[in-house]
Symmetry: C2
Subunit: 153 residues, 2 copies
């Protein structure tokens, strides 16, 4: 087996995580159906405003219904050997409930504009309450880098 990469400091992990949140466009969203308890997983594009994550999907899709009815999500950037895993509460929003300019920023960043889609879409604001970052087993210790609304010191 290859040697493990060097274990990053928390400061480095936080810097790497913020960079990827401002460079990546797609992520995995896991949600669950509140009655049947069935997990669901899809890739969706996102926009990070520095504090919260905005995604959008069809009102009537499984993810759209799960997030509305059971407003908790697991969000992960791509890359099973550079894991950035974000646990969030979720607000379901119509386009009119977004902040000024936000729908434009989302469309510009993701190249996907739900306002132009033929089917009804909701936006979902993910409010992170725990972020973990690790690459290999040597980084499992210390993987939590954000908790209860704050980056750890």
């Amino acid at each position: 087996m290859d040697a493990l990469p060097e274990t990053r400091s928390r400061t480095q992990r936080i810097a790497d995580t913020k960079r990827r949140l401002t460079e990546d466009i797609d992520a995995w969203i896991a949600s669950a159906q509140p009655v049947t308890g069935e997990a669901y997983l899809v890739p969706l594009c996102f926009w990070w405003d520095g504090e919260t994550i905005l995604i959008s999907t069809m009102v009537d899709s499984i993810t759209g219904r799960n997030l509305r009815d059971n407003p908790k999500a697991e969000f992960s950037l791509d890359g099973t050997r550079d894991v950035i895993l974000i646990r969030s509460t979720v607000e379901t929003l119509t386009v009119d409930q977004l902040r000024p300019g936000e729908a434009d920023k989302f469309a510009e960043y993701t190249h996907f504009d739900p306002r132009n889609e033929p089917t009804d879409h909701h936006y979902f604001r993910l409010n992170p309450y725990r972020i973990q970052a690790w690459r290999e087993v040597n980084e499992l210790k210390g993987r939590t880098i954000f908790r209860d609304g704050s980056w750890l010191d």
Copy 2:
């Protein structure tokens, strides 16, 4: 935006999916806690025997408990622009309940041997009942390539 890649036939998607299942080592596993309905997402290594997917994690981990108590999983290979999404039922197994030679094959393929871990691990056999494969929006139509135990014609 870049032009979309050519839309693959179902035959091609099935071939690509089988190839990735025999080459990839890591995947995303989404599970849900049956009472709170909380989704959980982790990367884990896997071994594909041609029909089922074997994974392993700690008996007392969140994923380990979720899969045992709520035996349904969403499994996805890495790559948000080359999606292979597998919905499965799940059997929880001890090492003694594996088929002859299976624990060795798992360890050899994944370079991870739960038998050598200091904490108790379960194996989980994922029995796929739906597999979807798509790269970009032009492949959303026809993305289901396996249903009810069979690859589609």
